[in-house]
C-alpha cells in the first residue's frame, strides 16, 4: 500500500516537474509547481513526517504559490518568448543537468553506507517530538534562523518603502 502510494506520488512529482519546464505559459508552470509541492507533501507523510507534510501544504502550496500566481495574474504575463538566452539554456542546460544527475547518482551509490535509514510508513514523528527537538536541543539555531528571516523581512520593507 505504502509502496504503491510512493510510486504514484513520486511519478506525479516528476511529471509535474517536467510539465513545469515544458509548459510555455507561466500560469501552467506555476500550477505544475503546486502539483510538485503537494506530491512532495504526500511523500513526507509516507515517511512519517506528518507535521512537515502539513507545513509543506500550508506554507508552500497555500501561501508561497498563491503569491506566485498572484504576481503572474497581476502582471498579466503572456506566453514566454524565445530569445538567444533561452536557446543558450537549451545548449548548456541539458548537458549540465545530465552531469549534475550523474554526479549525484555517483555520490548516492558510492556513499550508500553513510546515510541514515528511513522506511515507508513505519517511523512516525509526532509534532510533540519535533517541537521538543526544535525548542530544547536546537533552540539557539532555531531562534537565530528566525532572526535571520526577520532581517530579510525588514530588508524587504526598507527596499519597498517610498521616500517621503
Amino acid at each position: 500500500m505504502h509502496l504503491a502510494l510512493f510510486f504514484i506520488f513520486g511519478a506525479l512529482c516528476v511529471a509535474g516537474a517536467l510539465n513545469l519546464l515544458l509548459q510555455r505559459h507561466p500560469i501552467n508552470s506555476a500550477l505544475s509547481l503546486i502539483v510538485v509541492m503537494s506530491s512532495l507533501a504526500v511523500l513526507y507523510l509516507l515517511l512519517g513526517a506528518e507535521f512537515l507534510a502539513a507545513a509543506q501544504v500550508i506554507v508552500y502550496s497555500g501561501a508561497i504559490m498563491v503569491l506566485f500566481t498572484f504576481v503572474i495574474m497581476l502582471l498579466n504575463a503572456g506566453k514566454e518568448e524565445r530569445t538567444h538566452g533561452s536557446k543558450m539554456a537549451y545548449v548548456a542546460g541539458f548537458p549540465g543537468a545530465a552531469i549534475l544527475l550523474g554526479l549525484l547518482t555517483f555520490i548516492f551509490v558510492s556513499r550508500r553506507g553513510s546515510f541514515g535509514q528511513a522506511r515507508l510508513g513505519e517511523y512516525v514523528v509526532t509534532t510533540a517530538d519535533l517541537s521538543r527537538v526544535l525548542f530544547k536541543d536546537l533552540l539557539l539555531p532555531f531562534e537565530v534562523t528566525s532572526v535571520l528571516i526577520l532581517i530579510a523581512i525588514l530588508g524587504a520593507v526598507a527596499l519597498a518603502r517610498k521616500e517621503h
Binding site: I27, L31, S38, I58, V66, T127
Partner: protein, 353 residues
C-alpha cells in the same frame, strides 16, 4: 477485536456519503435561512411561496440551477475555467472529514461520528482552506474579465493576509490542549461543561474573536466580501460563471461557512460537550446518549451560522485599505500578544521540569 479491511471500508464509505449528503442539505437550507433572516432584518418576508414557510425553496433553486443554460464565454482559458469551481467545491467539502461530530462511539471498531481522526487534524483543515483559494484565484484569471480578475486579486491578497491572523489565533488553544488533534482539544474542555470551554474557562475569548473575524475574511463573507462587492465589481470572481459552475462556487462558500462554524465550536465552545456538564443526569439508552452530543454540536454550529447571517445583515462592507490595515496592524499583533500571554500563564501555572 481487529477490524477487517472490508468492514472498515464499508462503514467509512457510508460515513462519507451520509456526511456529504447532510452537508449539502445544510448548505441548501443555510441559503434559505440567510434569505429568510436577512429578509426579516430588512423588514420583508423573504421566500414564502414554495411549500410551507418557503421550506421547499432550496429544492426549487437547485432544479433551476441545473436547468439553466451553461454559458461559456469565447475568450476564457478553458481548462482552468472548468477546473476552478471544482477546486473550490472539493476543498470546501474535504475539510469536513476531520471534524468530529460526536463523542467517540465505536461500532465494529470504527469511529462513528468522525470520518477520520488524524493527529494533526487542525493543521490539515488549515492546509485545505489555504489550497481552496486557488479556486477563486484561477476562476478570476481564467475568465478573462477585468472585474473577475480584480475580484480574484482581492481574494488572494485578503486570504493570505488573514490566514496569518487565523493561524496565530489558534495557537493559544493548541497550547492549552497540547495537541493538534480536534478530539483531544475537545476532551480538554469536556470536564465541567460551560465553564471549562476555551472561550470562558480557558480565557481564549481574544483568540476567539480574532479567529471569527479572520474566518469571515477567509470565507469572503460580509463585512469582508470585497472579492464579490457587487457595487464595484459586478459579481467579482464569478461574474462569467453560470448554471452549475456558479452553483459550485455558491455551495463552496456556504460549505466553508459551515466548516468555520464547526471548527469554532470545536476549538472554543467545547465541541459536542453539553454546556451543563454533568448537571443533567444521563437519561435514555445508549443510542440517546450517543446522539445527544451530536445534538449539542448541531445547536452550536447553527448558532454560528445565525451569527454569520446576522453580521451580514448588520455591518457595512470594509474599504480595501481598511481591510488590509485591520488585518495586519490590528489582528496580527493582538494574536501574537495572545500567544505570549497564554504561554506565560501556562508557564507560571505548570513550572518547567
Amino acid at each position: 477485536m481487529e477490524t477487517s479491511f472490508l468492514t472498515f471500508f464499508l462503514i467509512s464509505l457510508v460515513k462519507v456519503i451520509v456526511v456529504v449528503v447532510i452537508l449539502l442539505l445544510s448548505v441548501a437550507y443555510t441559503v434559505l435561512l440567510e434569505r429568510k433572516l436577512v429578509g426579516r432584518i430588512q423588514n420583508r418576508w423573504g421566500p414564502s411561496r414554495v411549500g410551507p414557510f418557503g421550506l421547499l425553496q432550496p429544492l426549487v433553486d437547485g432544479a433551476k440551477l441545473f436547468l439553466k443554460e451553461d454559458l461559456m464565454p469565447e475568450a476564457v482559458h478553458r481548462p482552468l475555467y472548468i477546473l476552478a469551481p471544482v477546486i473550490a467545491l472539493s476543498c470546501a467539502l474535504l475539510s469536513i472529514a476531520m471534524v468530529p461530530f460526536g463523542a467517540d462511539v465505536r461500532w465494529h471498531g470504527v469511529d462513528l461520528f468522525q470520518i477520520s481522526d488524524v493527529g494533526i487534524g487542525l493543521l490539515i483543515i488549515l492546509g485545505i482552506t489555504s489550497v481552496g483559494v486557488y479556486g477563486i484565484a484561477l476562476s478570476g484569471w481564467s475568465s478573462n474579465n477585468k472585474y473577475s480578475l480584480l475580484g480574484a486579486l482581492r481574494a488572494s491578497a485578503q486570504v493570505i493576509s488573514y490566514e496569518l491572523a487565523l493561524g496565530l489565533a489558534l495557537i493559544g488553544v493548541v497550547l492549552r490542549a497540547g495537541s493538534l488533534s480536534l478530539r483531544d482539544i475537545v476532551n480538554v474542555q469536556a470536564t465541567h461543561g460551560l465553564i471549562s470551554w476555551n472561550f470562558f474557562g480557558g480565557f481564549q475569548f481574544v483568540a476567539f474573536f480574532i479567529y471569527l473575524m479572520a474566518a469571515y475574511a477567509e470565507t469572503n463573507r460580509s463585512p469582508f466580501d470585497l472579492p464579490e462587492a457587487e457595487s464595484e465589481l459586478t459579481a467579482g470572481y464569478h461574474t462569467e460563471y453560470s448554471s452549475m459552475k456558479f452553483a459550485m462556487f455558491f455551495m463552496a462558500e456556504y460549505a466553508n461557512m459551515i466548516t468555520v462554524g464547526c471548527v469554532a465550536t470545536l476549538l472554543f465552545f467545547g465541541g459536542w460537550t453539553s454546556p451543563f456538564g454533568n448537571l443533567i443526569p444521563a437519561v435514555g439508552g445508549p443510542i440517546v446518549q450517543a446522539l445527544l452530543p451530536v445534538f449539542w454540536f448541531v445547536v452550536k454550529v447553527f448558532g454560528f451560522l445565525f451569527l454569520y447571517i446576522w453580521v451580514r445583515g448588520t455591518l457595512p462592507r470594509f474599504r480595501y485599505d481598511q481591510l488590509m490595515g485591520f488585518g495586519w496592524k490590528f489582528l496580527v499583533p493582538v494574536a501574537i500578544a495572545n500567544i505570549v500571554v497564554t504561554s506565560l500563564w501556562m508557564g507560571l501555572r505548570v513550572p518547567m521540569q
